[in-house]
Symmetry: C2
Amino acid sequence: MARARKRLGRRPGESGTREAIAAAARRLFSERGYDRTTIRGIAEAADVDPALINHFFGSKQELFAAVTTFPVELADAMPRIAEGPRSRVGLRLAEFVLGALEDPETRRAITSLVRAATSEPEAARSVREIVTARVLTPIAETLAADQPKLRASLINSQMVGLVMARYILELEPLASLPREEVVEAIAPNLQRYLTGPLGLSG
Amino acid sequence: MARARKRLGRRPGESGTREAIAAAARRLFSERGYDRTTIRGIAEAADVDPALINHFFGSKQELFAAVTTFPVELADAMPRIAEGPRSRVGLRLAEFVLGALEDPETRRAITSLVRAATSEPEAARSVREIVTARVLTPIAETLAADQPKLRASLINSQMVGLVMARYILELEPLASLPREEVVEAIAPNLQRYLTGPLGLSG
């Protein structure tokens, strides 16, 4: 009987419950921002007891950190982007980032991070440390350009701004421009930040 | 006696009270974000009765809109930026924007607007309408470039991203880079968005 009830439960098991919580958290953090998202709200959306969230993730801040660590995975793609003709690395980076943002789940995670970073020091630190140290600085260093950290922060400024303009502010016509045209519009600017001279002679 | 008391009051009069409320609101919206800022908190910071805020400004949303309309004034500078050698318009725009951001009051107003825009549709609409329609599209149109609205939204993406990276995320070394070097780093990219070809041939 206990066995039958277990089978009838909504979740297939621990990992299913954990993933349901994470998915609900990502969605709510993205839709409502960090401040307005509550553990209770996530529990309702995931259809679990709030105590389970604490069990799996700890505090709201820890939950946030756990569901927004995805950019670390993007780091895996960086060597591939840095390889190949140096004169087209900006294009490869733009194609990769715009491609990643096409996926609704990734887009939600990134907009969630950007939204939270504006109000929450913990999220701002995530953006600073993860994106810059683990994604952008390595690519700038691989290219053996001067001032890799400055280049990384400049690229970050354009990337964060693109996410803001296209997906959060929904500025037209940028918001509904086909992906390929966005890639063409920003790639040369990324290229200059990556490999060009950073002074006015550039 | 009544007169003496009036003279001893903290505020010099209606306009002084209004300005005190506006200043407190700008500071709190900037420091705490839109969501966490309350009418009560602004009233305390300005040392006035909360009812006075309602009297002068209406709702929190109306107060927010009232204290964040400053970019309209920036529009006055745009003809001056659009004039002069076309090949250096990106430099003039970068110098103007970085110069404006040096002023603590203006910087606070802009970071406040960007922070709020990520969580508050009303603020996002302010950014979209005021900055793009009244500031950036006119400059792109004055330059008689093709696709002025797309250029405006691309410039906006870089500007919002710069505010995020330098002043909100405080990404180093961009955050503490001398203003002149930031100008040199971003001016050529703004120049391309303003006057360059937007495709890959650019």
